[in-house]
């Protein structure tokens, strides 16, 4: 049981170290391929899926 736990603990430590080293994050940007180069000169021509964000956040 102790040996099994040793292997388990080592695996978890190595795994978390790998994730830490990679700077892994679950949140990923929504990947949109082939955005036209014209966006550089005309930013309004590209509309992100996060555009038109409307939300009221009132105070207390």
């Amino acid at each position: 049981m102790t040996k099994l736990y040793g292997a388990y603990g080592l695996l978890l430590t190595v795994f978390s170290g790998y994730l830490g080293y990679q700077g892994f994050m679950f949140s990923r940007g929504d990947e949109v391929p082939n955005v036209p180069r014209s966006v550089r000169d005309n930013p309004g021509s590209y509309r992100s899926i996060y555009s038109n964000y409307h939300r009221y956040t009132g105070g207390k």
Binding site: M1, T2, Y5, G6, Y8, G9, L10, L12, T13, F15, S16, G17, L19, G20, Y21, Q22, G23, F24, M25, F26, S27, R28, G29, D30, E31, V32, P33, N34, V35, P36, R37, V39, R40, P43, G44, Y46, S48, I49, Y50, S51, Y53, H54, R55, Y56, T57, G58, G59, K60
Partner: protein, 446 residues
């Protein structure tokens, strides 16, 4: 010339009660014996065998699982089973019975085996007197560097005897017994009108008994948890020690990987946004992000006051045309009321995404704020903000996520261990109250 081992001499005589032949294997050490035919108990302390106790005509017979005369090795020494008795106690109105075997070796004397529902114990007499002690406030005795906690007080009664005994055994004789436990050992004191004797027991698996005495078949399967049965789950200390080691390793790994993360600021600039002032989106100059797939953090600092803004962000690879869309809302409100001053939200915040390949990127930014009539007409709503893009920032969340998983096995192990101990001590009756209880709820009728 080699010394000859003494051969066990079998002495035989006729039972003074029924006339049946009775054999003695104890080489003159037995003080009493039971006639195998009429079960009467005979005084065998000298040549003149006398009747000590005539057995009841209708007496329940118990068959020893190890037949009398069987020889086997216990503790590396050869013993012969010379006696057998069945004893009982009452607890909560229920009678519990167990078997005891007398083992004899002419060089090493007597030792005993007990069996209760498949649980076996090897018992020897204790020569030094145990000293009174306590274990965390519970009554106990100490003996040979071990502390034995009081487990049970009972009044065992002899119900059936067979073979011979080194004491004057009598049917229905009752003694006061106290059992003290320190698994896999236990100490027992038995007190009658004349004396108190102490014995030490060691739990022994049934299969070892079967092997030692070369018995046929298999031993009875143990039922429940016995008082001095070793905890099969062992100590959890090694696991906890490993848990500490792994925690330190995690901490060290976290520190090392945090230092290894570049956390390089690849872009930083200040902007302002006036709500309702036309097309809000713009792009930043190109910046380079080195390395393979790494994370990116966009930090936003504003001077918002009782307002919110939203930044639609797209990190666009100049060469491949691949965009990574994300966004961040920032809000900050403050004021005071009857409860005092308050704030809500923050003027600065950040958003991170992972898995962004290296390359040349620019950021498309699309700010947004709540549109009011004033801002629509006069464009009076303005917020100043700063954007900072950092590449390969340190992440520490994996270590905090993993750590609880390290806790699970030792917690589970300790739970199993204490569950077993709970079952053991659930059967405990240190005061001996159960012996006097009928097992029914005692309610006084007024």
């Amino acid at each position: 010339m080699a010394a000859q081992r003494p051969q066990a001499k079998i002495r035989a005589f006729n039972c003074p009660n029924c006339g049946n032949s009775v054999q003695l294997r104890g080489m003159g050490t037995s003080l009493s014996a039971a006639c195998p035919s009429c079960l009467s108990i005979l005084d065998t302390s000298d040549e003149r065998v006398r009747l000590l106790q005539r057995a009841a005509k209708k007496m329940e017979r118990f068959e020893p699982k190890i037949p009398l005369g069987t020889r086997g090795k216990v503790d590396g020494k050869q013993y012969e089973v010379t006696g057998f008795q069945h004893r009982t106690i009452m607890a909560d109105g229920v009678e519990y019975g167990w078997d005891e075997y007398v083992l004899y070796n002419p060089f090493h004397g007597f030792r005993y085996l007990t069996e209760y529902t498949g649980h076996w114990n090897d018992i020897v007499a204790v020569l030094s007197l145990p000293a009174p002690s306590d274990v965390m406030g519970h009554a106990a005795v100490s003996h040979e560097d071990r502390k034995f906690k009081l487990f049970q007080t009972s009044n065992p009664t002899t119900k059936f005897v067979l073979g011979e005994f080194p004491w004057r055994v009598k049917l229905n004789d009752t003694v006061n017994s106290k059992d003290y436990v320190d698994s896999p050992y236990s100490l027992a004191s038995e007190t009658d009108d004349n004396e108190t004797t102490w014995s030490r027991a060691q739990y022994i698996p049934g299969k070892e008994i079967w092997s030692a005495f070369n018995l046929k078949g298999s031993p009875p399967t143990p039922q429940g948890v016995y008082s001095n049965q070793p905890n099969p789950y062992g100590s959890t200390k090694p696991m906890w020690a490993m848990m500490v080691v792994f925690s330190i390793l995690l901490l060290l790994t976290m520190i090392v990987t945090s230092f290894m993360a570049a956390g390089e600021t690849v872009f930083q600039s200040k902007y302002y946004f006036v709500s309702g002032s036309g097309e809000p989106s713009f792009v930043t100059p190109t910046f380079e992000m080195k390395g393979g797939e790494k994370n990116v953090e966009v930090e936003i600092r504003t001077d918002l006051q009782n307002d919110w803004m939203y930044l639609g962000l797209a990190l666009i690879n100049e060469n491949t045309g691949t965009a990574y869309d994300f966004g961040k809302e920032i809000s900050f409100y403050s004021g005071s009321d009857s409860d005092g001053s308050w704030t809500e939200g923050d003027k600065a915040d950040s958003v991170s995404i992972g898995g962004v390949p290296g390359g040349k990127y620019y950021l498309r930014v699309e700010p947004d704020m709540e549109k009011t009539l004033g801002s629509e007409l006069f464009g009076s709503k303005r917020v100043n903000y700063e954007i900072k893009v950092r590449r390969d920032v340190a992440v520490i969340w994996p270590y905090f996520v993993v750590w609880p998983f390290l806790l699970i096995p030792p917690l589970w192990a300790i739970l199993r261990r204490y569950s077993f101990e709970g079952k053991r001590w659930a059967e405990s009756d240190p005061s001996g109250n159960a012996a006097f209880s009928s097992g029914e709820d005692d309610e006084d009728d007024d």
